[in-house]
Structures are given as C-alpha cells and as structure tokens.
C-alpha cells in the first residue's frame, strides 16, 4: 500500500512538472500593464 501511494505521489509530481513545462510562467500575461517601445539599432 505504501509503495502504491509512493508511486502515485511520484506520478503526481511528474504531472505537475510536465504541466508547468507547458506554459512558460515568465510570459507577459494579458492582465499585466503592457507598454511598447520601438528601436532601430543600426
């Protein structure tokens, strides 16, 4: 029983890890205040 629960915990941790990997959390979100800057560097 302990092993089954342990396996489930490992599987759940893997799923969380995979889910986190699907959406990069550093991307700007729509709710954030966004401004735009435009440059030409030559």
């Amino acid at each position: 029983m302990d092993n089954i629960n342990g396996d489930r915990r490992v599987a759940a941790a893997d799923l969380v890890k995979q889910a986190r990997a699907l959406i990069p959390p550093i991307d700007l979100v729509e709710s954030a205040q966004i401004e735009t800057a435009t440059f030409a560097l030559g």
Binding site: P24, A32, Q33, I34, A37, A40
Partner: protein
C-alpha cells in the same frame, strides 16, 4: 523584429522601401522602465556613426509625448557623455510591420531541438514571436546573459529537462 519609419505599405525584406529594420518590445513598466530600455539602447549601438542606409539607421520611434521627452533627454545625456555628435534619430512611431518568420528569434531558430519544444508550447508562430521565454532563450543563444543567470531562469522557460540541459551546454560552450 520588423520594419518601421517608412511610408511604403506592406514592406518586406526584399522590398523594404523607406523603412528601417526595427525591434519592437512589449514590456511591463512595473518590471522595467522606459528609461532603462533607453539606457540599454544607447549601450547597444554606436550613436556617433552615420547610418549606411535608411534600412540600417539607428533610431528611437517614440509612441507618445512621454517617450519623446525621455528619448530626447537620454540623447542629450549620451551626447554629453561621449562628446560627439549623435546621428541616432528620435522619430514619431507611425507603424510597425512584422518581418518574415525566418527573421524572428533568429538564433533560436537555428537550434532545431529547442525549436521543436517551442513549437509544442506555441502551435501558432505568432505566439512564439510574442513569447518572453523565446525572447530570453534567443538572447542567451546570442551571447547575452551568463550561464549562472540562465540556471536561475531555466525553470521559467518552459523547456523539458533535456532541453534545459542542452541550452545550458550551448551557453556554457560559448563561454558566457
């Protein structure tokens, strides 16, 4: 990456007209100020050099009066600092046309394994172009940022453990 500053409609790389190659940055002013972006801009080009052509001129395209004021003030400071005439233009923003896909995140697009991972995260190429994570990875591959900083950033980039290790190897191999 795209084209701005000209009058020709729908410019392309092969038919640029009077436009200039340009980068456009969407940013959160709570995280980084326009003044900080201007500081980086002045450090990232040679403002006392005359432009070879309209395509490759250096310019700030300001989006409002506040940006105009800050850009002009930063130009004056830069001129005092380097003691030379500044050829970088300060111009009103009149529009921006995205460059062709092969110009976007140019260094990252050379890394096929990493691109496969980003293609899974962003099935639409437009979302890839707009991605902060893709912009950061492209920057690291282009020699900006250290391996030590990348290790801090890595969990936020959306890459698999293998992809993360590959990126770290690439950055370390470039001696950053």
């Amino acid at each position: 990456m795209g084209y701005a500053g000209g009058t020709k409609s729908s410019p392309t790389y092969r038919s640029l007209g009077d436009h200039t190659e340009t980068i456009q940055i969407d940013y959160d002013p709570a995280r980084i100020s326009y003044e900080s972006l201007l500081d980086l801009f002045w450090k990232s080009h040679e403002p006392s050099s005359k432009a070879w052509s309209r395509q490759y001129m250096a310019a700030v395209f300001y989006h409002d009066d506040e940006q105009k004021k800050l850009a002009l003030a930063s130009r004056d400071r830069e001129s005092s600092t380097i003691g030379k005439k500044i050829h970088t233009e300060i111009l009103p923003f009149t529009g921006f046309t995205l460059a062709e896909n092969y110009h976007q995140k140019y260094r990252l697009q050379r890394e096929m394994d990493l691109m496969q991972e980003f293609a899974r995260i962003y099935p639409a190429f437009e979302d890839f172009i707009n991605s902060t994570a893709a912009a950061r990875v492209n920057g690291y591959l282009g020699g900006y940022g250290t391996a030590a900083r990348l290790e801090v950033d890595l969990d936020g980039l959306g890459l698999s453990p293998q992809g993360g290790r590959q990126l770290l190897r690439l950055v370390e191999s470039r001696g950053n």
